[in-house]
């Protein structure tokens, strides 16, 4: 069993490695994409400097806490798009019958699909998050927690995208709805949860899982709480399990479009 898991992980890592190598064929474009994405994210620092010039705290956050929030959101989003970029175009694969090429592979279908593409600019997002952490609130403990939460955030983000994408197995026109729901995670994830009240907070923790992907991890990094950490880890596991379950249930309904294709 452990051998099978080891082999699957090895194939996944190789797949990501070759995706990145393919993107690196044009080195100038590769580096420009990374650098400009980091700069692109950095422009939002202006927004927060302006807002904090109007009030000392926003939703209970100081400026370094908001930067931590932004950094974690960027890193989790980046990691998800580096490792599992194909999940964000899953509806297209399902609707156009392009899953055939993955079904015939002698490896796990879901992992093969997820790791079959990489977004170059996402490397810029991931690095931006790390830079923000180092500039605004670095400590050894925070650094390791940040890495851990970047991984859990990326898994939650991917799992939510997988759930939304899998809706296409049942509803043909659900891809736009799903993509807007997934992008809403980033919209909410870059603003402090303290500005939202009542029912909205409930939605952000249960319907759109940004609470567990970004808000709780930031609270834990600001003031460590082992209980909250276990809740985040448990939530990540449960959401991933639910997303995998829904994907395989949906896969039973999948029918090929007789499209000729090959996955090399």
């Amino acid at each position: 069993m452990s051998m099978v898991v080891k082999n699957e992980l090895r194939v996944c890592l190789l797949s990501v490695k070759y995706n990145i190598m393919r993107e690196m064929l044009n080195k100038v474009t590769f580096l420009t994409n990374i650098l400009f994405m980091a700069l692109n994210n950095a422009t939002f620092i202006v927004q927060w400097v302006i807002l904090f010039s109007l009030r000392e705290d926003i939703g209970g956050y100081a400026i370094q806490d908001v930067m931590l929030l932004w950094g974690l959101a960027a890193s989790a989003f980046g990691l998800s798009h580096i490792l599992f970029a194909r999940v964000f175009s899953l509806p297209e694969l399902i609707i156009n019958g392009k899953l055939d090429a993955y079904l015939v592979l002698p490896k796990n279908v879901l992992l093969s699909v997820l790791t079959s593409a990489t977004s170059t600019s996402a490397i810029g997002d991931f690095l931006y998050g790390l830079i923000i952490l180092c500039v605004f609130s670095f400590s050894i403990g925070k650094f390791f927690l940040f890495l851990l939460f970047s991984i859990t955030g990326a898994v939650i983000y991917t799992a939510f995208a997988l759930l939304m994408g899998s809706l296409s197995f049942w509803f043909v026109r659900s891809e736009l709805f799903g993509s807007h729901m997934v992008s809403s995670m980033i919209s909410f994830g870059t603003y402090p949860d303290g500005i939202f009240k009542g029912m909205v907070k409930f939605l952000l923790y249960l319907v759109i899982p940004i609470g567990m992907a970004i808000y709780q991890p930031v609270h834990i990094m600001i003031s460590f709480d082992a209980g909250k950490l276990l809740v985040v880890l448990g939530y990540t596991f449960l959401l991933s399990a639910a997303a995998v379950f829904v994907f395989y249930r949906g896969l039973r309904r999948y029918s090929s479009s007789s499209l000729m294709g090959a996955k090399v």
């Binding site: 044009n26 100038v28 474009t29 420009t32 994409n33 650098l35 400009f36 994405m37 700069l39 692109n40 422009t43 939002f44 202006v46 927004q47 302006i50 807002l51 109007l54 009030r55 926003i58 939703g59 600019s121 736009l176 709805f177 807007h180 729901m181 992008s183 809403s184 919209s187 909410f188 603003y191 303290g194 500005i195 939202f196 009240k197 909205v200």
Partner: protein, 263 residues
């Protein structure tokens, strides 16, 4: 000119078929506005206080109008399609047609936002009236007067985006330049009115496209004044002329550089 009208009309009719898809985009727009309503609710200590001379309602309406322009005019036609045409060589086929390529793209783009923008305007009005409340300073006459500024702003935005896409003649991927331009517009002109920035920076921002693309039209819609109207309109005419000149110049230079491998 007639041929561009035909292109515009055909794209307009084509896009009417996809009005349902446009409506799905309302989800993202609503979420952004929802966040900003909560943010400004928090930022304004009391409902009557002013920030940079704006009441809370004016500030939220400002964001709703600029975001409406942002969402209502988003299109791959002036960005990814132009880059793909240049990189893929399709431009060699399109430039031989009896139209100017850049004007063809602009006509297509205008056909697209002619459907999207009014839909987003209707949604903005609905959200604004139900969640924020009306604007005390709003008058129908000033709205009609500000409308040409809104349309000019959208066209100037398209010209600059198209110019950036035309850089694909020289660089393989012009997208990173689009991100930076977009973020400049978004952070400085869309999220905040210019008055919120330090006094020293405001004259500088007035010289950028931000003033003509989003700040000017939004400011006129929420707080119209004849002086501001003439100022914005004059700046827009200058920017339109400069933008057109730059577009034809970059395209002319790029087209000379083009070579076709055959196939």
């Amino acid at each position: 000119m007639r041929k561009y009208v035909v292109i515009y009309r055909s794209v307009l009719i084509e896009n009417l078929q996809y009005a349902g898809n446009v409506a799905m985009g309302f989800i993202s727009y609503f979420i952004i506005i929802f966040i900003f309503i909560h943010l400004w609710d928090y930022m304004y200590a009391s409902p009557d206080s002013l920030i940079a001379g704006y009441t809370k309602e004016q500030m939220i309406w400002y964001v709703m109008i600029t975001e409406m322009i942002w969402f209502g005019t988003r299109s791959n036609t002036i960005t990814r399609q132009v880059s793909a045409d240049i990189r893929g060589g399709n431009i060699a086929y399109l430039m031989n047609k009896p139209y100017h390529y850049t004007l063809y793209i602009l006509a297509r783009y205008t056909g697209e936002w002619s459907i999207r923008l009014p839909m987003y305007a209707a949604l903005s009005t609905l959200i604004g009236l139900t969640m924020v409340g009306g604007l005390a300073s709003f008058r129908l006459v000033t709205f009609l007067a500000a409308l040409p500024c809104l349309l000019l702003g959208v066209t100037i935005h398209a010209l600059f985006k198209l110019c950036i896409s035309l850089l694909s003649f020289w660089v393989e991927d012009a997208n990173p330049f689009q991100w930076l331009y977009d973020k400049m517009i978004l952070v400085i002109g869309t999220i905040f009115p210019i008055e919120i920035f330090p006094d020293a920076l405001q004259p500088l921002f007035k010289l950028t496209p931000i003033y003509t693309v989003c700040y000017g039209p939004a400011k006129l819609l929420i707080d119209f004044s004849m002086d501001k109207y003439l100022e914005v309109l004059s700046a827009q005419i200058i920017y339109l002329a400069a933008g057109c000149g730059m577009m034809f110049f970059i395209y002319g230079k790029g087209a000379k550089k083009l070579y076709v491998n055959g196939g």
